[in-house]
């Protein structure tokens, strides 16, 4: 039965603004900055305007009244208790809000004066968020105060970031004494509790400065406190980039250090800096709030969100009686949360390392329904667009396939010849991204039986690794997988069923190329073995696991196993790690071992011993092995059959001797021809 698999992998979101949460909070931040930029226009009254006798006037905005009907209007209040400042609404007394009307005068960028407000009232004030202790409109003060609070965050983090880039960059690029000095200073700054440092620095820098200067001074102080963390981050990245060959090349090209730092190294930091910027802005806003709360920050006549929450006006009595004076706090929280969520999403979006591998279950099941529906339709619509899918009948399908790519010498199906076939795959196709993209794999057929070594040869991008990874669902990226049939031990496998996939995976072990990156460096080898055994047998105890792992490790010809089993992976050489890796793969007695370029990172002599060992084990355990490599010479020396792949297609698949001596496909001929054998000489 032909079925189709379109597994949706949760990949890193490619479109940042498609995230609803990011979109909402971005919008909130935009609104805040727009509001703050046009503060005098958006605020109904001047933030300094005191309404006589309206101390702690409660919020009085109404949207409907019998007298004025629908529309924003101000309810009039009357003071009933002058001691506890208790207000009561006056029944039937409303003041209409006028939109785009004249009110208090203000200057536009210091150039011209105007008195147009978005909305204002004539006689009785509209207090949307209530009034403060001097009878000033809190909304107007919040809007105007946001100017300082929001810009202090931006300015402070920009200054601190520049400091961090400069000092961290110097430390990272030059190293040695410079690095030592700068890092010790940073550590000293980090050592002192932030608030004490804040107060200390505030005392040093002009404690009685005029309000205009305090703004700059506070942002300077905040950035001095904020830079060490980012400086360490920048230094770390610089240290690693410095080792890259292109930096060495630039240095050898006599490019001045300053150009290397700013033009060659800094661009690698952009995404990280952007993230760290959006994380640090809320911290700066909070820093300003803390200072102003203590009366050391912004003072009258300037306003900021912090100074609105100054401790002089904020006490338990006033908060319980007039809760609306906490309103600026809500704005601080909102700005902080928006920035944090923005930063979080930016990180997910920009960080290449956050790349979830696991399948989203919901997506898979819905796709499955679709595919079942599609199965009843003509087969052409299935799967990869470029691949016309043939009829259910295998024989007929192969004929059609041959017509399509006759020139590529697709082999006749060999499945029927093997009765003891372990794994049989028909017409595996795979494509990344959108369906219209070039498929990474097309019409891949494979059969393997016990004790057989199948070699898959191809250049990079030929789909040799992708074929096996796609089959086992181990691909990192979103991919559409389609197939005609997959049989494991003569039972059909449906890749949409988790159980089937898990069953297939338990029979197939995969060994990767990079020896040092395959395992957790913090877990010793015996723990790795224990975990592996527990997959099959959860009740296995430590001693038994130890015995079994010793047995397998000595099979891989690792000497002094007893001592070494407690070692960590970094204590082994590349060849040894690869042996341990193979031993781990063998731990659960797989039927098929996939060796994906396992010797590429190794020396030629180690390569030979490991390959010999592997082949030996495969033959004695009558296991099948799939050996993937770019090196046709290596594959030729170990495999029984060779499959040659090019650009996602199977070019040729035949016995090793046939491929090496009488290749049919022109591509195989070029591949063999371009091998430089020992003894060849360049001839001009």
């Amino acid at each position: 039965m032909p079925s189709i698999r379109r597994t949706e992998y949760r990949s890193a979101q490619r479109s940042f603004f498609s995230l609803p949460l990011a979109r909402i909070f971005c919008l909130i931040l935009c609104c805040m900055y727009i509001g703050v930029a046009g503060a005098p226009f958006f605020s109904p009254y001047s933030h300094q305007k005191k309404f006589e006798g309206l101390t702690y006037h409660p919020p009085n905005a109404r949207f409907y009244s019998r007298e004025l009907g629908l529309g924003l209007q101000a309810q009039k209040y009357v003071l009933v208790n002058t001691v506890s400042l208790e207000w009561r609404p006056l029944r039937g007394e409303y003041e209409k809000v006028r939109w785009l009307a004249r009110g208090d005068r203000y200057s536009v960028l210091g150039l011209s004066e105007t008195d147009i407000h978005l909305f204002t009232t004539q006689d009785y004030p509209l207090f949307i968020f209530g009034a403060d202790h001097l009878g000033r409109d809190l909304l107007s003060r919040i809007i105007v105060g946001g100017r300082i609070s929001l810009t202090i965050g931006l300015l402070g983090s920009l200054i601190s970031l520049s400091l961090a880039i400069l000092l961290g960059g110097l430390a990272g690029y030059y190293g040695g004494t410079v690095d030592w000095l700068i890092m010790r200073v940073c550590e000293f700054m980090l050592l002192i509790p932030g608030l004490y440092l804040l107060l200390f620095l505030r005392q040093i820098f002009l404690p009685t400065a005029p309000p205009g200067q305090t703004f700059v001074i506070i942002s300077l102080i905040l950035s001095l406190i904020g830079f060490p963390g980012s400086a360490r981050l920048v230094r770390g990245i610089f240290l690693s980039i410095k080792e890259e060959n292109y930096i060495l090349s630039a240095r050898l090209d006599s490019v001045p250090s300053i150009v290397i730092v700013f033009r060659h190294m800094l661009p690698h930091l952009y995404s990280i800096l952007l993230i760290s910027l959006s994380f640090s802005i809320p911290a700066f806003i909070l820093g300003e709030t803390a200072l102003s709360y203590l009366g050391l920050g912004i003072t009258d006549p300037s306003v900021s969100w912090g100074s609105l929450l100054s401790r002089r006006e904020l006490n338990l009595r006033s908060i319980s009686a007039f809760p609306w004076i906490l309103m600026p706090g809500i704005f601080i929280i909102l700005a902080g949360v928006s920035y944090n969520i923005l930063a979080e999403h930016l990180r997910d979006f920009l960080d290449p390392y956050i790349n979830p591998v696991f399948v989203q279950k919901k997506a898979t099941t819905t796709k499955k329904k679709q595919s079942q529906k599609q199965n009843q339709k003509p087969k052409r619509e299935l799967g990869v667009e470029n691949t016309p899918f043939p009829e259910n009948n295998t024989e007929k399908g192969i004929e059609q396939e041959e017509q399509v790519i006759q020139a590529d010498h697709i082999p006749k199906p060999t499945a029927s010849l093997y009765t003891d076939t372990l794994l049989s795959v028909r017409k595996l196709g795979l494509c990344f991204g959108s369906q219209s993209a070039d498929p990474a794999l097309q019409g891949f057929d494979m059969d393997i039986k016990r004790g057989e070594v199948l070699g898959i040869v191809g250049e990079s991008g030929s789909g040799k690794s992708v074929s096996m990874l796609g089959l086992l669902g181990l691909l990192k990226y979103k991919a559409h997988v389609s197939y005609e049939s997959i049989y494991m031990n003569n039972t059909p496998i449906d890749l949409d069923y988790e159980k089937d996939v898990a069953c297939m995976r338990s029979h197939i072990a995969y060994v990767y190329q990079e020896p040092s990156q395959s395992y957790d460096p913090l877990v010793p080898i015996d723990k790795h073995f224990l975990e592996t055994f527990r997959v099959q047998n959860p009740s296995i105890d430590k001693d038994e696991a130890r015995l079994r792992s010793l047995e397998i490790l000595s099979l891989m010809q690792i000497d002094r196993v007893e001592e070494r089993i407690h070692s960590y992976f970094h204590q082994f050489s590349g060849g040894m790690i690869q042996r341990v890796q193979i031993a781990l793969a063998l731990a659960n007695n797989p039927d098929i071992l996939v060796a994906d370029e396992i010797t590429t990172a190794l020396d030629v002599i180690t390569e030979q011993t490991i390959m010999d060992l592997l082949i030996d084990i495969c033959k004695t355990r009558s296991m099948a092995m799939i050996c993937i490599s770019h090196d046709i010479g290596l594959i030729g020396s170990v495999a029984d059959r060779i499959a040659v792949m090019q650009k996602g297609r199977l070019v040729e698949c035949d016995k090793t001797s046939t491929i090496l001596n009488k290749p049919k496909a022109p591509y195989t001929k070029t591949l063999l021809g371009s091998q430089i054998r020992f003894g060849d000489r360049y001839d001009s």
Partner: protein
């Protein structure tokens, strides 16, 4: 300056090596050793551990010659390369350079005794030396900055080069830029890369193209010595053969001496005139290619050859 000649560098010997090398050496390594101090962790028992990356390496690189260096990982190939380009100082030994006549370096050092000892060069002379000895690295993805366009990388590399600035002789920036572009286009034509592709970023090129760009980056300086560190090992098999042939063709066109470093003995034997086999930082064998091909003396070389023959 006293200068003891290395074991293998009698001039009569080098003539025997054949190829297109002429007899005068350009680079001379005399008993170069490099040790690294490996510091143990805070709780490690042995605090100081010395790793001998290179031990008493001596050889001559002759003008126009291709010298092949074979070694497995950890044999000290890369350290050797870094010492030659002065990215690292040797712990012991002397590295001498014979500047070609009528080059800025030669003019500057007229008063000095030849050959120049690399470690005694002044900052200015070092920069001129950098222009004459260039490296092509193993991994093409890491040898070009992915965040800069290729044209920016190549232009900047040339415009900051002191030799090129002397060559331009205080012309205006515009004229210098035009000259640099002309030279870049000329070099790229040799490498078969279309100059229209220059505005792209390195990631938009294939591995083979990127490696050719890395070679171009070295060749625009018209170096006298080109060090190729495993240039072909990260490439596909079909591209690999082309790359090696290309290097030989370029050598004929530009006339540089080449130090070809690789782990693959068949590849080294394919293009080198003289071959050095390194093992754990020690010269195991140093012989003309004919000897390596037909009559290798050391056991280790024979082992490498045997492996190369079984797999192919």
């Amino acid at each position: 300056m006293t200068h003891s000649r290395s074991l293998y560098s009698t001039s009569s010997h080098s003539k025997l090596f054949g190829g297109n090398s002429d007899s005068s050496p350009i680079l001379q390594l005399n008993k170069i050793s490099k040790q690294y101090q490996v510091k143990g962790g805070t709780f490690a028992t042995d605090r100081q551990n010395v790793v001998h990356a290179l031990t008493a390496i001596s050889f001559d690189l002759h003008r126009g010659e291709t010298l092949g260096v074979v070694g497995e990982s950890g044999s000290g190939k890369s350290t050797l390369m870094r010492i030659i380009v002065k990215a690292e100082r040797p712990t012991d030994g002397n590295l001498s350079y014979y500047p070609t006549k009528n080059t800025p370096l030669h003019d500057m050092c007229k008063r000095k005794l030849l050959p120049l000892s690399i470690n005694d060069l002044s900052t200015k002379e070092t920069k001129l030396y950098y222009d004459q000895v260039k490296i092509v690295f193993q991994d093409p993805t890491r040898s070009l900055n992915p965040r800069l366009t290729v044209s920016y990388i190549l232009l900047q590399s040339l415009l900051y080069s002191p030799s090129f600035n002397i060559h331009c002789d205080a012309r205006s920036y515009k004229a210098k830029r035009a000259l640099a572009l002309e030279r870049i286009h000329h070099t790229l034509a040799h490498l078969g890369i279309d100059k229209a592709m220059l505005q792209r970023y390195p990631t938009e090129f294939s591995g083979g193209q990127r490696q050719r760009l890395a070679i171009a980056r070295a060749l625009i300086h018209r170096p006298h010595v080109l060090i190729c560190d495993e240039v072909s090992s990260s490439l596909d098999v079909t591209t690999r053969a082309n790359m090696v042939t290309l290097l030989k063709e370029l050598q004929e066109a530009f006339g540089f001496s080449m130090l070809f470093i690789s782990h693959d003995i068949s590849l080294v034997a394919y293009i080198s005139d003289t071959i050095i086999v390194l093992k754990n930082g020690i010269t195991v064998e140093h012989a003309p290619y004919q000897t390596i091909l037909h009559n290798p003396k050391s056991e280790y070389t024979r082992m490498l050859i045997a492996r190369a023959q079984t797999s192919k």
